[in-house]
Structures are given as structure tokens and as C-alpha cells.
């Protein structure tokens, strides 16, 4: 017995010592949730949808995109999907998933938000409301109860603190690749005593311990320790970590990843450059997630969404400014993929929103609602009730998930 363990027994009664094990036990014996996995990837900063899912078959594509246009030939050819739409050259793994009928690409899609502030746009994306700051918590959190996942530990944010999307009445936990050496259990038991009068800290510590003692993340890989979601770097540790947690039998069923770095106002690049590097990192992350999920991949659906799209034409600096409609993706072993969904209206000036933006013809909430219904069994009453209030105009999509 080491010194700190002895000090625990000396300093604490048997009752308080038991408290330490309370959370993990509850965690392990909680009603076993269904085996479906849902991952939401927030792409923060407004992804250029015309770069991610280029409509290369449109007659105005080359002239509209100018220096940002991607080609089907050359050093970095785009991946054609259906003759009209393609995937950015950096999205090689996503192309393979498309070919395996495990990926759907969406075009001309956006939340109901129509102004161009990142922060309002993200608020609408995450709250599921029709306008900014109308609701104080996130739609994914409100959907946990009808999914039967409101107990602690079923919903995971790959972040130090859950983002708005996962904030709300149900309990969500959070995890980041290991950074500082985790203190020993005996010490943590004493800290729990300190938080008796501070519900917020007490709850956070309990959730952190539950996740940790489930021992699903035992990675001491030093490469896990350096990368954050804001860094323009390797996203593999984040996605792989999320995959390892989700793969576990009693682990979380819902996870959120929060990836920024998409606000390409200057030198966006086409087949190569800043956006290509970020997309490649995302593509690599998704592959790592798939690998880490193992057999659970077949039960998994991953939705990736951003707050809005960008201007169709390049701005004065080889970048794009804030726009309206954009692209989105649904992928995973459970997805009935292999097609593009777009109510395409073309790229002529007359077809563009305010003469500048790719328009939004589909409400993102339709995608979210269809996904929650088909994949996680959320009933329409909940979807149209408190999960997405005021969303009658955005009917749930169908045919997203394999029967």
C-alpha cells in the first residue's frame, strides 16, 4: 500500500472512502443503453461549402469561383461524386465512404439563421431555435431524455467543458486527451469532500472520475497531449479518443467534437493551401474515429455541420466572406449513403442570395430531426416539441439511416 493510500484510510471514514467508488459503480451498472452511436461534429467558423462539396458540373462554377475553382484533373483533382457534385481533393477517406454508400453530402443547407455573425449563427446551430439566443441550452442535450440517455456519462463532449449544444438539463461529461498527470484516487476522494458545498464543481469532478475509472482511455501516447481543436494541426488524437470511448460497451453513446479553423477570409487556396490542410486534418480524424470504433462503426452515424456558408465568389484577398447556405455531411456505418442531397439552384448572380451567397434551400434542422428519429428513435412529439421548437417548417428528412 502506498503512502497516499494509507493517508486516505487514516484521514477518512469508511463512508467517505466509499463515495469515491460510488460514481463508477453507478456508471457501470446503469441501464445498458441501445448500441447506436451518434457523433455531432461542429465545424466552427463557417466552412466554405462550395470548396468542400464543389458543384463542378454547374456551368457557372469556374467563372464564379475563379481562383478557388477546383478541377477534375491536374495535380490535386477533386473527387467526382455524381457528375454534378464532388468532394474536395483533401477528402480522400470521405470519398471512400461515399463509394461504400456510407456518406451523404448535403448542399444549399443552413440553419434558419440568415444574418452573418459567427456567434449568432453558432448559437442558432447549437440551440436548435429559430433565432439567436431564444433558448438557453442545446438541442442535443434536450434530445438525450427521449433517447433514454439522460443519465450521467452517456453524452460526451470532446472538450474541456461541454459546448452549448450539449448544455442543458441532462448530464453531459467532457474529455480531452490526457494532459497533466491525473492525481491518485485517494487525493481525489479528499477533493470531493471540498466540493460538498459547490454543486457545479462537485458534479464536474464526479463526471470526470466516472469517465476516467471506466478506464476506457488509457492512452499514454505522448502525441495525444499536444493538440487542441483550435490548433491547425493533427486532429487524430481527438477523434481517436472519442472513438475509443464510444466503442466501449458501457461508454457514451453520443459525442460532440468541436473543430474550429474554417474562417477563411484570406488565401483560402483551392486544391492546396490553408483550407485544404484543414480539410485533410478533418478527413484524417474521421478515419481515426472509424478505426477506433471498430465493430461499433456499423452502429454509428456522424453528422457534421457549420453555422453558415460563405460567399460564392472570392473576396479581394483570395478568401471568402461570411455567407448563407453551405454544405453538410452525414456519414457512418449506419448511414444509407452514396448520394448527394441538394436543391440546387445554380450559381448565376440571380440565383445567389443577395447576389453574393450560396442560398439555403434546406433547413439543417430537417437533417438533425431525421437523424434523431431514424437513428436514435426520438419520437416526433419530442422532435417538434422541446428539441426543435418552432420547426414545423422543417420536416424531418427520411431515408438517412439503413433499415
Amino acid at each position: 500500500m502506498d503512502a497516499s493510500r494509507r493517508s486516505l484510510l487514516r484521514g477518512l471514514s469508511a463512508t467517505t472512502a466509499l463515495c469515491l467508488w460510488d460514481a463508477p459503480l453507478k456508471f457501470a451498472f446503469a441501464a445498458v443503453p441501445g448500441d447506436r452511436r451518434l457523433v455531432v461534429v461542429i465545424l466552427r467558423g463557417a466552412v466554405d461549402g462550395l470548396a468542400a462539396v464543389p458543384p463542378h458540373g454547374d456551368k457557372d462554377y469556374g467563372s464564379t469561383r475563379g481562383q478557388l475553382a477546383l478541377a477534375t484533373d491536374g495535380a490535386t483533382p477533386l473527387h467526382d461524386l455524381d457528375g454534378m457534385f464532388g468532394l474536395h481533393p483533401a477528402l480522400a477517406n470521405m470519398k471512400m465512404l461515399y463509394d461504400a454508400k456510407q456518406l451523404i453530402a448535403f448542399q444549399n443547407i443552413c440553419s434558419p439563421y440568415r444574418d452573418r455573425s459567427h456567434f449568432e449563427g453558432q448559437n442558432v446551430l447549437e440551440t436548435g431555435a429559430a433565432k439567436p439566443h431564444a433558448i438557453g441550452d442545446g438541442w442535443l442535450n434536450r434530445a438525450l431524455t427521449p433517447m433514454g440517455l439522460a443519465d450521467s456519462g452517456h453524452a460526451l463532449a470532446v472538450a474541456q467543458t461541454p459546448p452549448l449544444l450539449l448544455t442543458g438539463p441532462a448530464r453531459a461529461t467532457s474529455w480531452m486527451p490526457a494532459t497533466l498527470p491525473t492525481p491518485d484516487a485517494a487525493f481525489l476522494a479528499q477533493v470531493k469532500l471540498l466540493y460538498a458545498g459547490d454543486p457545479a464543481l462537485s458534479r464536474s469532478l464526479g463526471d470526470a472520475l466516472a469517465l476516467q475509472s471506466a478506464a476506457m482511455i488509457a492512452s499514454d501516447d505522448p502525441s495525444d497531449k499536444k493538440m487542441g481543436p483550435g490548433n491547425n494541426a493533427n486532429l487524430t488524437p481527438l477523434f481517436a479518443g472519442a472513438g475509443r470511448l464510444l466503442a466501449a460497451e458501457a461508454g457514451p453513446r453520443v459525442a460532440v467534437l468541436d473543430i474550429s479553423g474554417w474562417d477563411t477570409h484570406i488565401n483560402e487556396g483551392a486544391g492546396e493551401g490553408a483550407l485544404a490542410r484543414r480539410l485533410a486534418a478533418l478527413d484524417g480524424g474521421l478515419d481515426a474515429l472509424k478505426t477506433a470504433l471498430g465493430p461499433a462503426w456499423n452502429k454509428t452515424a456522424i453528422v457534421m455541420a457549420t453555422e453558415f456558408g460563405r460567399t460564392a465568389r472570392p473576396n479581394g484577398n483570395g478568401g471568402t466572406d461570411h455567407g448563407t447556405g453551405g454544405a453538410s455531411f452525414l456519414l457512418g456505418g449506419a448511414v444509407a449513403g452514396g448520394h448527394v442531397r441538394a436543391e440546387w439552384t445554380g450559381l448565376s448572380t440571380a440565383a445567389l442570395q443577395d447576389g453574393r451567397d450560396q442560398p439555403a434551400r434546406t433547413d439543417l434542422r430537417s437533417l438533425f430531426k431525421g437523424l434523431l428519429a431514424e437513428h436514435m428513435g426520438v419520437p416526433p412529439s419530442a422532435l417538434n416539441g422541446n428539441v426543435f421548437p418552432d420547426s414545423a417548417g422543417a420536416p424531418a428528412m427520411t431515408g438517412l439511416i439503413r433499415a
Binding site: S4, S7, R10, G11, R44, G45, R116, S117, H118, F119, E120, P132, A159, Q160, T161, T167, T173, S174, W175, M176, T179, L180, P181, T182, P183, F187, L188, Q190, V191, L193, L194, Y195, A196, G197, D198, A200, L201, S204, L205, D207, A208, L209, L211, Q212, K225, G228, P229, G230, N231, S260, G261, H265, I266, N315, G316, N317, G319, D321, H322, D354
Partner: protein, 481 residues
């Protein structure tokens, strides 16, 4: 030693240094307001000042010119060496900033610096901003924390760091001479954020057309790249449009390294929010003035200020009082700071807000009187590394919105666990001869009656001083202010 003294040192300051609560306790409000004035400036390790923004721009220009002139195979190597040098500038600047936070006897002034730097966020995660970050805070923020909001706003809008970060340095009027020749054009980024994040607030009353109008008014506001041969065709053309230094010097807030390029400026008068502005530098300058004095700005700033110093959800009457003072004094930031100190809502006993990681780590170092002289550099670097691991670093927010000022964003499971891990690691390095009794004494002197009897009991019952210290640093009372 009084409760108000403890609150002054923690809620308005950076956490207690040895003896600080006693000093603040005599007259806590006076102790705070006496700190107001231009903030202290971090200096280099050898005591000399850091380079100005203008000198850093000159370094960048010289480097680019050499590279272009050389056209040699070792370009990549030269670029790596230059990037390394720029990162070193950032590290040195941030290291000095941390040290100032650990040691300052004007912690309220330093808090105000941090507040305003975060309000006017530039991020070193953006391309090309790393070497300018320190200069930005030294030149555009620190001189003005007890000055006029308009001066700070102008200093921000003319600083190389901001002009690079939000791309205005490259925004070119499409109908300007440079625009016609280069076929480059407008970049909306800065025009939008200047209204949404730095002045009016998102509901402050502006449209997409206003975003474009402000972007046009600010075309030509760029960085002073010096010599005529220093930057390709556009720069050569623009050379003819330099406005005289005398014009700028009359304008107090203009940052060094700024230059207005007439030939990149979108010609013609512009209508912004229903008002017509003249052509030239004067148009953008007048727009900055009007934004600084707009009632929406007073409301937006008052709200953020109250959230920072009072609570996550400040009483509406506190916000209104601050708003009125900001508006009635024409944006006098000293009056604003005095007003929040005098607000009774800021002195409630309640549990207080969570310290964000940088503030938390700063408080631990102040409590323990770190860094020690013989190990100063390594200990400061340790603090900086811990901040990074906890997901916050000064001037490195993921977006121009800056770091969150809400407790819930700093108290998630992973955030809490990493703070406990840090506390444990730091405390394990206490000297061998330290006693548990010394830790409780330190806790009493830093937290006074805010330390609950229960917490004090757990600390006092610790097996050794290291454990006791780790418990103190992990406690709710120490993490909140």
C-alpha cells in the same frame, strides 16, 4: 483584515500575494481606485523595453525583401529561421506578461488590461500575428485602461496586430487605383467584427450594407511597410498616397506601424448607419469616433464589464448604471472602473465566478510567491505550459470573440480535473520543511472569512504540507473569486 479586503484582492485583483489582503483591508475601494492610470509595461528579461509594433513591421518587411532579392534555394530554411525568431518574440513577450501578473502591486490595473485585451481580441492562432501580440497589448491597450474608450478603439483599429489579424491590411477598395491595377478587393472581416464584437454589439443596429460600408471606409488602413521597394506592385503604387506623419501625430490614439494608403482607399463618400462619411482617412476616423460614442456601444461595454467584475448574470440596474456613466462621460474608462468598484453588487459574499485558467494559475503563483529568483525562467515557463494544457493562453482565443467570461465554460469535468492535477503537481514541489500549519495560515491570510470551516478542516487534516497545499489550491474558495 476584512472581508472587503479579501474581495478587493480576489474579485478585482489577481489573488493575494503575501501581505496583500492586509494592505487592501484598510480601505479596499481606495486601494483599488488608486491603481487606476496607464498600466505597467512588461519589459525584457534584461530590463530593456520590447520592440515597438513599427519595429516589428520593419523586421517583417526587411525579411520579405531579403527573401525576394535572394531568390535562393535556402528560402525555406530562412523562412523557418524567421518564424522561429517570431515565435521567440511571442514567448518572451508572454513570459514577461505572466511575470508582471505574478508580481504586480497594481493587480486591478492588470485585470483591466486583461479584460480589454480580451474584449479587443487578436489571436496568435491567426496567421502572421504572433510577433505583434505583445506590442498590441503594450501599445493599444495598456496606455488607455484609465483613458478614453475612443482612444483605445483607434489604437486597436490602427495597430499592425489587428490590421493583420482581421485582414484589413489587405483590404483594398475595388475602385481604388491599387484595386483597379491589382484586381484585388474588399475584405469584410474587420468591418464586421469592429461593430459586432468591439463596439456596438451584435444587436447594436447595423446591416450587411453597413458592414460593407465600414469595410470601405477602412480601406487603406494598413501597416507601414517602409521602403518603396518593400512589397510589390501595390505597395509601390500606394507609396504616393502616404499621409504625412504630422496628420497622424495629431491623432492621439494612432498606433506605431500604422499607415494609411490613399491609393488603396475606396474613393467616394460612404453612407454608414444612415450617416454620410467623407472620402479618405477622415471618413474612417469619423466612423471610429461615432462608433465609440454610440449608445449601443455604452450598453454593450457596460454589460461585458458587469459580467466580468460582478457576476455571470449581473443585476440589470448595475448594467444600467455603468451604461449611463460610460455614455455620460464620453467613454471615460477610469470613471467606468471606479463605478464598478463602487457598485454594491460587486461586493456580495456569494461564491463568485470561476477563475479562468490564466487567472487561476496566476493566483497560485501569487499565493506561493513564485517564481523564485533562482528558478524564475523555468517556473514561468511551467505556468505558461499549464495554461496551454488547460485550454487557455493569453491572446490565443479560437476566434475574435475572445475567451469566454462565463463560469460554466471553465468548470466542465475535464477543466476541473486538470486544475486539480495542476494543484497536485505544483504542491508536490513544496520544500520538505513546510508544515500543514503553514498552509492553513497561508489560506487564512489569502481567503480570510471566505474560507469555509469545512474546507479549512479538510486542509488541516491533510497528511502533509504538500497534500494540504494541493487541497487549498483545489478548493472551491480558491478557484472562485
Amino acid at each position: 483584515m476584512s472581508l472587503e479586503g479579501v474581495l478587493a484582492v480576489n474579485r478585482f485583483g489577481l489573488g493575494a500575494r503575501p501581505g496583500e489582503v492586509e494592505q487592501a483591508s484598510d480601505n479596499p475601494k481606495t486601494w483599488l481606485t488608486a491603481q487606476l492610470g496607464p498600466a505597467q509595461q512588461p519589459v525584457q528579461a534584461d530590463g530593456t523595453p520590447f520592440k515597438s509594433g513599427a519595429a516589428l513591421v520593419a523586421d517583417l518587411t526587411a525579411f520579405r525583401r531579403e527573401r525576394r532579392d535572394a531568390r535562393k534555394a535556402n528560402d525555406a530554411q530562412a523562412a523557418m529561421a524567421f518564424n522561429k525568431q517570431q515565435r521567440q518574440v511571442l514567448l518572451d513577450e508572454m513570459s514577461a506578461r505572466f511575470d508582471l501578473g505574478f508580481s504586480t502591486t497594481r493587480p486591478f490595473a492588470e485585470r483591466l488590461v486583461w479584460f480589454w485585451t480580451n474584449h479587443f481580441t487578436i489571436s496568435t492562432q491567426g496567421a502572421g500575428t504572433a510577433s505583434f501580440a505583445g506590442a498590441y497589448e503594450r501599445e493599444a491597450i495598456r496606455p488607455f485602461i484609465a483613458g478614453k474608450f475612443e482612444d483605445m478603439l483607434l489604437a486597436v483599429a490602427t495597430h499592425p496586430a489587428m490590421l493583420v489579424y482581421l485582414n484589413n491590411a489587405q483590404s483594398i477598395g475595388p475602385d481604388s487605383l491599387a484595386g483597379v491595377v491589382s484586381r484585388r478587393g474588399l475584405n469584410e472581416n474587420f468591418g464586421r467584427e469592429l461593430m459586432e464584437l468591439y463596439s456596438l454589439g451584435v444587436n447594436g443596429g447595423y446591416t450587411q450594407a453597413d458592414v460593407i460600408a465600414l469595410a470601405k471606409l477602412l480601406t487603406g488602413w494598413s501597416i507601414d511597410t517602409g521602403q518603396p521597394e518593400g512589397g510589390g506592385r501595390i505597395f509601390r503604387i500606394a507609396q504616393f498616397g502616404r499621409i504625412s506623419d504630422g496628420d497622424l501625430r495629431r491623432d492621439t490614439g494612432v498606433s506605431s506601424g500604422f499607415r494609411y494608403f490613399e491609393n488603396r482607399h475606396e474613393p467616394g463618400r460612404v453612407s454608414l448607419r444612415g450617416k454620410t462619411y467623407p472620402d479618405g482617412y477622415a471618413g474612417g476616423r469619423a466612423a471610429i469616433h461615432d462608433l465609440a460614442h454610440d449608445p449601443a456601444t455604452a450598453r454593450f461595454i457596460a454589460g461585458k464589464f458587469a459580467v466580468h467584475f460582478i457576476s455571470d448574470t449581473p443585476p440589470p440596474e448595475s448594467v444600467t448604471r455603468l451604461e449611463n456613466i460610460f455614455r455620460d462621460t464620453g467613454g471615460d474608462l477610469k470613471a467606468l472602473a471606479v463605478a464598478v468598484v463602487e457598485d454594491p453588487a460587486a461586493w456580495t459574499q456569494g461564491p463568485g465566478k470561476m477563475r479562468p485558467p490564466v487567472d487561476y494559475i496566476t493566483a497560485t503563483y501569487r499565493l506561493l510567491n513564485l517564481p523564485q529568483a533562482q528558478n524564475a525562467q523555468r517556473q514561468t515557463q511551467g505556468a505558461m505550459q499549464a495554461c496551454r494544457l488547460m485550454g487557455q493562453f493569453p491572446m490565443a482565443a479560437p476566434s475574435p470573440k475572445g475567451w469566454s467570461d462565463q463560469s460554466q465554460d471553465w468548470s466542465g469535468p475535464d477543466a476541473v480535473l486538470s486544475r486539480i492535477a495542476f494543484a497536485r503537481q505544483l504542491a508536490s514541489r513544496l520544500p520538505q520543511n513546510f508544515a500543514v500549519g503553514q498552509v492553513t495560515q497561508l489560506a487564512d491570510r489569502a481567503l480570510g472569512s471566505r474560507l469555509s470551516a469545512a474546507t479549512r478542516g479538510v486542509i488541516a487534516a491533510a497528511a502533509n504540507a504538500g497534500e494540504a497545499m494541493a487541497l487549498l489550491l483545489s478548493s472551491s474558495e480558491f478557484q472562485r473569486r
